[in-house]
Symmetry: C2
Subunit: 243 residues, 2 copies
DNA sequence: TTTCAAAACGAACGTTCGTGCTATATTGGG
DNA sequence: CCCAATATAGCACGAACGTTCGTTTTGAAA
């Protein structure tokens, strides 16, 4: 049995060449974390058990364990892996939009897509991790809090930049606005995870646009999708969420 | 040792007389659930272990276990107990306000207070439970979802009543508005649990009032607290959250 | 005071948890 | 082609998990 099917990932040109240069263990580690991140988003970082994870990857508990040295280290590595995925799937795409209101909106839009397209099996990894660890002091909690603070700061900065560009009212409070946008995101995530309610995304989108439009200047509102009330959103980049 | 301090709750007149009529086991059961609800709100319904709970109450695992028959039954009973506390602490007080916009606002206001005053050790019990169980099918998940749906329905109905009374625009969508208010609540809970950020309550309050005011008619806005921008809220009932 | 069901206990079950230790494969560089 | 390094497996551990069982304690009715 061993690590069958993990390392031997069809050696297809370019990508494979780059991976071949990586140490064997590094590839296994990555495979572990990819699985870990998905299990954790659905079952929680504590429900992420080493034995379960090992059997799901057809490897031994001890073999897997050796990569991390402790469960807490595994959890921290999982958080880090999730952060990288989040950056790749949400932050990076949003930063392709030009600085200002366009980017602010895209940060919201792509976040909603990231939950809807189920980048993680259990919805937003960090919303889940935050709820699980907010009552348990320790490095994991601290790191999760840090990462979410990063996200909120990104949101806030983008709003401030929109203000600087004269696209948003100067009297709008970026912290307040970022708080509201974030809350709406978490509300959509909650509704989708608990009820499978896809309409929640539309509702969050509507509310976010309302907030942004309310504070946007005449020149700024051009950076938001047309007011078209309908549910169909033909705006926003078509590009699929890349795996 | 035994159940010291649990059953023998200082036999002080009236209340005690009523409790004396209750079966002995019933009182113990209640004491268990009171503790369970607090542990669960902080450590999660799964982290709520029978052994831990027993030792925290200075009773034996088996003695405690006998009250429920299974862990799942204990979890369900805990959810039910939390629901009753929520109703007593949030819904009931809000329903003292007259039907319409006044009550809608009070539902929001008293919910924020319920988190701020730490009615549960780990913040909103249901926000935590929903995040924990949204990925684990079963009776517990179902019940949690039901209870939260109740809450959202209450919010929505109150909004609709405010519309009926001509206090809110007829074109405001109660479902949309309820979604937004709920999201803001969960956002405030998140910020407070993860960062201890008390300002989040003010931010949520501001945003909620903004939403309500935006849709309120001339006659309706009288039911919302004065616009006073400041952080100090002298409005709203003074009554302490009763234990 | 006696009686008896309800309630609480203590010990043990089989699992699974995280974590060590030791031995065996596997692998890339000389 | 071999060797040192690394990666993985195997096995065992103590603790804690939910659960079962037979016994003892308790308190209210008779």
């Amino acid at each position: 049995m061993t690590t069958a099917g993990i390392n031997r990932t069809g050696a297809r040109a370019g990508r494979a060449a780059a991976e071949a240069r990586k140490a064997r263990g590094e590839r296994t580690r990555q495979a572990i974390l990819e699985m870990a991140v998905n299990v954790a988003s659905a079952e929680g970082l504590e429900g992420l058990t080493i034995g379960r994870l090992a059997s799901e990857l057809s490897m031994s508990k001890s073999g897997l364990f050796a990569h991390f040295g402790s469960k807490e280290e595994l959890q921290l590595a999982t958080v880090e892996a999730a952060r990288e995925i989040f950056i790749r799937q949400v932050v990076r795409p949003a930063f392709e939009a030009e600085q200002g209101l366009a980017r602010t909106w895209k940060l919201c839009d792509v976040w909603l897509r990231y939950v809807k397209e189920e980048v993680f099996r259990g919805g937003c990894f960090f919303a889940a991790a935050a709820a699980e660890f907010d009552g348990r002091p320790g490095p994991v909690r601290d790191r999760v809090a840090e990462v979410m603070k990063e996200w909120l700061a990104t949101l806030r900065r983008s709003i401030a930049e929109a203000q600087g560009a004269g696209q948003l009212d100067g009297d709008a409070d970026p912290t307040q606005l970022a708080f509201e946008l974030n809350a709406l995101e978490m509300g959509a995530n909650w509704a989708f995870q608990l009820y499978g309610d896809r309409q929640a995304f539309g509702r969050a989108r509507t509310a976010m646009l309302e907030r942004l439009r309310r504070h946007s200047t005449r020149s700024g509102s051009a950076f938001l999708p047309q007011a078209g009330r309908g549910r169909r959103r033909a705006q926003s980049v078509r590009g699929e969420v890349q795996r």
